[in-house]
Symmetry: C2
Subunit: 147 residues, 2 copies
């Protein structure tokens, strides 16, 4: 807590995209964690469940690459989802990265609930910044991802 009268000065940080991106991302992820606590899903797990459902029979390594997740991290993430009975690998040999992925019925059901929760967050963000700015922000962030 800031107890002094005068605000702390951020200097050039206030106009630095890297700093502002990180602050906004942390705020949105903290809000996500509050909303998703009952479902026990992290942002990375939620993204993986969506991508698995949207891409039936695609290889684990392809999905990891599309999500920008390092191979070993995605293997660990899939191990967790498999242990919880939410997703499974269709074994294709010794290389676990080559396996195709699919949701279990339990995973599909949980994802439906998670999507409803995610929609409430997106609505809260639209309320905060407006519909036009929401669309514009998505486009700008996609371009920044190419930096």
């Amino acid at each position: 807590m800031i107890e002094a009268d005068e605000a702390i000065r951020l200097g050039l940080l206030s106009q630095a995209i890297g700093y502002q991106l990180r602050r906004a991302q942390l705020a949105v992820f903290e809000d996500f964690a509050r909303r998703f606590a009952a479902l026990d899903l992290s942002p990375a797990q939620f993204s993986a469940l969506v991508a698995i459902r949207e891409n039936p029979a695609r290889r684990q390594s392809e999905i990891a690459a599309a999500l920008g997740v390092q191979g070993p991290n995605f293997v660990a993430l899939m191990d967790g989802l498999e242990r919880r009975g939410l997703a499974e690998r269709l074994r294709s040999g010794a290389d676990r990265r080559a396996n195709a992925l699919q949701l279990t019925p339990a995973g599909a059901t949980l994802l439906k609930r998670a999507e409803a929760t995610q929609a409430t967050q997106e609505a809260a963000i639209r309320d905060l910044i407006g519909e036009t700015e929401h669309r514009r922000l998505v486009e700008t962030l996609e371009r920044l991802s190419q930096l």
Copy 2:
């Protein structure tokens, strides 16, 4: 690497601010890491050096709060900067969070170089998204940080 012909579908993630923020933030931080490798500074260390210089004699706990860094994490960060001789605590007693902070001459010199490096990143971002969008993005991210 995606080897199949068809792109992986991201479904609702492509319009989700949380997902897009994280992808953009990682891209900007990876770019930062490449640019700052020679200076051996992380984004958090850079932010701390800026905030310490801009706020002479303010308490460590105030600066940590303004940067959105948890107390213990900021203490560890300051320990690292102090070990490298870049910043120091003006001891005010047993509670290290109550100490005022200042840059050493070496820290001030390194920060000057770091600011020049940071300016090259900001210029690259302006080239990518345009000056108007850069300004607008800063405003939108500041509002999102209030979520």
